[in-house]
Symmetry: C2
Subunit: 233 residues, 2 copies
């Protein structure tokens, strides 16, 4: 019988567990960590929110909060202001789905970029990665995710309709820069089919040995793709 | 001759390098990554500040910023508010040096805690760690660091004078809970000497095998300390 009243006390992670505990139980449930910090509610809230950032768990969120509190003028206040400014300024580009402080975004406004080549990416992070590499001088289209039956992400939930509309306005080539994952490749196949009627040239990124990679450490899928796509020297 | 005009272009880490580049050079220096992101200055500033948090490098700061921007209402705005609230509310306890939203802090105000036993720690993080363990029901004293000749941290820069004053006001035992590092142990020895005239009982934490630790993985210093401090069963 799993009666919670007689269940042995469990110690679990305070920073994550705290929001689930009813306030009326605070300080009364023995053996359960109810108050993780001898600090004010403002500090606990700061830690709880920091712990939601990727790369920060509850422990590193505490460490980050302490650094913030110690460097109040140099870091805490500027970061709070930067977050407020970013929250007020950020816009989703109405053309491509990129995040920027203007809409259309600075990439869509840039007259030096070729409007006849579209690079389709899953996410803004992918767009940033390609821009860092500096390999592409056309325009982007951010889908906002990849097709996934498990997560219920259908074509209607992605920016596919706007992609097809943009292609119809005069695009010579669509580069599908999806992730080399099952979801990414499913999305690429779906887009390939969806774009066929428009007659546009559709390409995808090459798969193969990453630069600096050692064959010994690569999986069979990558090696097989690299073999099949081998090129004459 | 190290003439910067003819030096080969170097690629270095954009997020960290950016603040060092003169604005007039932006977009003109070839081969140097001057604009890491195709996003507005508010977003770049947010990333730069996030990268200063412990545990977040430039790459994970970008990832954290993207998550923040995507979850504007659920995370970015609350976190900005939490930082502003914390910056406004945080105080250093005038008695023990702890960080809290009230001064004296909630631990110093807690009448259930024994005021005759003082636990001296280097940092607020150590105080939080001991409170999480829930092993101590007395009062704390936060030194604000450890003695370090290399970093120029002398006893005058730590809260040692206030510690000695507190001890003189009627304390039965001082527990030195320094880190088991060279600096921590130097500080403990200094405090031991400084507290001798007051005649107070001074103790320190035990050194030994950490709970869950395997002998095979422990260093000689720990094993030697554990052997010397062995106890009858």
């Amino acid at each position: 019988m799993a009666n919670p009243a007689v269940a042995p006390p469990r110690i679990f992670n305070c920073a994550r567990a705290q929001p689930k505990i009813r306030p009326s139980l605070k300080g009364r449930v023995k053996g359960v960590c109810v108050s993780s910090l001898p600090a004010g509610p403002e500090i606990e809230r700061l830690i709880q929110l920091l712990a939601k950032l990727p790369g920060l768990g509850p422990r590193s969120a505490r460490r980050a909060a302490l650094v913030l509190l110690k460097k109040r003028e140099a870091l805490l206040e500027p970061l709070g202001t930067a977050m407020r400014d970013a929250a007020a300024a950020i816009k989703t580009c109405e053309t491509c789905g990129n995040l920027d402080t203007v809409s259309p975004c600075s990439l869509c406004r840039d007259g030096r970029r070729d409007p006849h080549v579209l690079c389709v990416v899953e996410d803004v992070a992918d767009l940033w990665a390609l821009e860092r590499a500096g390999v592409f001088r056309g325009r982007y289209h951010v889908l906002g995710g990849a097709l996934s039956a498990l997560d219920g992400i259908t074509p209607e939930r992605l920016n596919t309709a706007s992609l097809i509309a943009r292609v119809d306005e005069g695009v010579d080539e669509v580069i599908l820069a999806m992730n080399a994952t099952v979801e990414g490749q499913t999305t690429a196949h779906y887009l390939m089919d969806a774009l066929t009627p428009s007659g546009v040239k559709v390409t995808r990124l090459a798969h193969g040995v990453p630069v600096g990679g050692e064959l010994d450490y690569l999986d069979e899928g990558t090696l097989s793709a690299a073999f099949r796509a081998r090129r004459p020297l």
